[in-house]
């Protein structure tokens, strides 16, 4: 069963590939790593719906003690009546194998790391697709994923985020004292749920000048997603 496809183009993108000559040795190595990664992943995820309301300029999640601060998440969830908190991890096995290869073959570690990054995003996409299909049946649709640390949503909500989901017990996902997710190849994200009609309106109102939202982002110069050639969820949405 090919549970984790791992898109090779994405892997290459993370590795900084821009149509250079891909020699046979490297190409084989990447294929091998993709295969190895598929065998290492012990994917676990959890998600949960919450009603949201605005208070004092912040977004609150009902029945929890979690408050999402900042303008960016407020905008992201604008028009949403509820949201999904999701947490995904590929497990410790992936980390420990990458750690091993960092000592044995750094090239392999580098490629496996890119494979894992690709895989965790693919898992997130798959979950969101399922959620979107379910939502559509109720005339609802989802926003893109928005993670702690994007824009002005502080990354230090990570621990509270995980504890609202009970993620430590449910999927073994934790955050360290510096809000780094451990296991490393993990994602936490917030997805807004809104009426399909709302989304149409919102798209229209925002479609004109703001496509290049990266430039207006306060993390523009330091954004790791941009450096890796990508965009964070805040951009994808726009």
């Amino acid at each position: 069963m090919n549970r984790f496809p791992i898109d090779k183009d994405e892997v290459l993108r993370y590795l900084g590939y821009r149509n250079q000559n891909l020699d046979e040795v490297t190409d084989n190595l990447i294929n091998e790593c993709m295969e190895e990664m598929r065998g290492l992943i012990r994917e676990k995820h959890i998600y949960r719906f919450f009603d949201i309301y605005n208070e004092n300029g912040n977004v609150h999640l009902s029945e929890t003690n979690l408050t999402l601060t900042g303008n960016d998440i407020k905008n992201h969830l604008g028009g949403s009546e509820s949201c999904v908190l999701m947490a995904v991890t590929l497990g410790n096995n992936v980390d420990s194998k990458i750690r091993y290869y960092e000592r044995k073959s750094i090239t392999r570690a580098l490629i496996l790391d890119a494979c894992a990054t690709t895989a965790v995003e693919e898992v997130c996409d798959e979950i969101c697709e399922d959620l979107e299909n379910t939502a559509n049946k109720q005339n609802r649709t989802l926003t893109s994923r928005y993670s702690p640390g994007y824009g002005d949503l502080p990354i230090d909500i990570q621990k509270d985020f995980l504890s609202v989901l009970g993620a430590e017990k449910a999927i073994g996902l934790t955050a360290n004292s510096h809000s780094i997710l451990i296991p490393r190849k993990s994602v936490t994200a917030i997805v807004g749920v809104m009426d399909i009609k709302n989304k149409q309106n919102r798209r229209d109102s925002r479609s004109v000048p703001e496509n290049n939202t990266c430039l207006s982002c306060k993390n523009y110069s330091t954004c790791m997603y941009r450096r890796e050639g990508g965009r964070c969820g805040a951009y994808r949405k726009a």
Partner: protein, 795 residues
Amino acid sequence: MVDVGLIEKLKNRTLLFDGAMGTALQSRGLKLGELPDVANINSPEMVIDIHEGYVNCGVDVITTNAFGANETKLESSGFTVEEIVDAAVQNAKKAIKGRDVYVALGIGPIGELLEPMGTLSFEDAYNIFKRQVIQGVKSGADLILIETMIDLYEAKAAVLAAKENSTLPVFCTMSFEEDGRTFTGCNVTSMVMVLEGLGVDALGVNCSLGPKELAPIVEEILSIATIPVMVQANAGLPSIVDGETVFNISPEEFSYYKKMFVENGVRIVGGCCGTTDEHIKHLVDTVKDIKIQPRQNKALSGVCTPTKAVIIDRVKVIGERINPTGKKRFKEALVKGDIDYILKEAIDQVDAGAHILDVNVGLPEIDEVKTIVRVIKEIQSILDVPLQIDSTDPEVIEQGLRIYNGKAIVNSVNGEDSILESILPIVKKYGASVVGLTLDEKGIPSKAEDRFKIAEKIVKKAEQYGIGKEDIYIDCLTLTAAAQQEEVMETVKALSMVKEKLNVKTVLGVSNVSFGLPNRDLINRTFLAASLFAGLDLPIINPMDKEMMDTILASGVLWNEDKGAAEYLKYNENVSAEQVVVKDSKDKREDDLFEIIIKGIKEKAKTATVKLLEHTEPLSVVDEYIVPALDLVGEKYEKGETFLPQLIQSAETVKNVFEIIKERLSKDGSSQISNGKIVLATVKGDIHDIGKNVVKVLLENYNYDVIDLGRDVAKEKIIEAAVEHDVKLIGLSALMTTTVKNMAETIEALKELDKNYVVMVGGAVLNQDYADMINADYYAKDAKGAVTIAKKVLG
């Protein structure tokens, strides 16, 4: 008095624990994300009410609502660990109202993962648990229940904290998934070995699954555990329905499985998430009168890491290479703290088939305690091979065993009383196995019978300290055939006596036998075969010696251990495949070192270099092959003709070439070539290490000595290394915005000490502006950039 009562009770009947606290509080209005422990002070009546419900069911023990009452989780709660733990114990006592029910101090995971998975150190974890234990004892808890652990290392820290700071009984349960492993990969056998070794009073499983799903795991534990087994299952598999976590098995179904567990030998039962008064009432009524079934499992002989248990049920190989004796290059690595070299020895031995690695870092000029701790941690962060701690210093052994993750072997004790008395208590405390050498203050007896007597003494003494025979491995000591020819067979004879009469495992370092003789391999493997025939379980050898490994493989067939010769046949298939590959590559004639580097074919680097060195001086190899190849590779990368993996493959190839060149220079006694020293570290809190490691490989290619401090490195350690190694250039890496501030602090501290330190920084979140802002001297945009900076600063 109380604990005696509890353990006494356990001898005669099933001990009954309570049900869920956290989910019970949630159903009474606790918000998601709120710490249940705080309710001990904010809504004590609610907590007491839940406890009372369980007491009324007739349980023997209730567990305090203090699962998360550690300083990390309570950090922003406004309460101290002591306040919450005390309130939790008092609430439990109020619910009991003098009835004959015990209070268990519940201790759950800290919430942050320990090294090497996370950044919390073992020592910090121990101290966190210690606070909970001390207050629990003070407040009057009757036992300590460490529960819901997913990391065996964290469980070990908690058990040590409990045992070193209290005299209460300690129970410990972990949470497993349906595949029989915890989230961190810990398996059942390893859990049982380690927890039993640490001397807990009961062990088992809780949470994560319902009783039905836990059944196979419980069965596995019951098949090997030699102490009482405990099971606290959830009320079924959790599922989320309309935003609520639902546990949906009935009290009847819950009890049905628990009854089965008790009938199969489980001695302590209760409930976890989702269980209510009804579940527990039904459970108590169902199991309380079942006659207990004492189980008589034979203790396993083996060692482990959390993810791998090595059972000594047939010959297992102990790799001997991590040892400085007679190895110049290894000594150099130890003195310089070149951990990569040591790790390479570890990786190579495991690749060659070693099951266990001996670790000896005894060298007069280094701090052996500090070094053993570091080497053990480093090996365990990348390999799941069990280790044998090899030292004569009790302090080295103790510190090594303390931070070792799993069950280790101690190498060694001998028949001397003072040694037995100083080391055996440590072996017992940490639940290790121990090697006993058949020598004493009078030396090695020449006769087998006398060596046997010493072995007998060691076994007797170890048993007095509570170390079971399964954990004693006797070494009858190999003598050199060239010097003491008539005594060689005495070793083999002693070995077979020990095996037969003492019924313990045997271990033997083999290669000494051939010392001083030509064609040593032949003598070694013949002696090995004889020893294996006499019953040797654990040969200590160089696993890279293929012929020795082949002898062991063949003995597996001959001694009827390798059933149907399956392993032997498989191995021989691979051998013929390998030969074909070698032939194939010869035809292509890709043996020019320059080409090999450009193409990054690192497997060929070694042979090509050795060949080249036959007629070329090492320094000429550097100037004529390596430097031009590196320049070309770098140029191609900068022009965008190649991308990162290609650059790094070439860099790794060069690294392999240098390893050969360095060995050669070391052998020749020539001075090593170096362009200067650089300290590299990923800063405190950050564990993203790959970028830094890429930089390191490239810097090493350009002949810089890199002192790599690893990841999550505190500023104090960075300063210490900079001073100790007298380094001018320091490279720091950080990948997260949250850890850049630690980078800034490190730079500030370095500059404060000496403004001449030059610091370069790199990592995904940095850019030139950011680097300027935190007062770094240079910003390296990539690994190639770091090399340019190094050239500028150090030449």
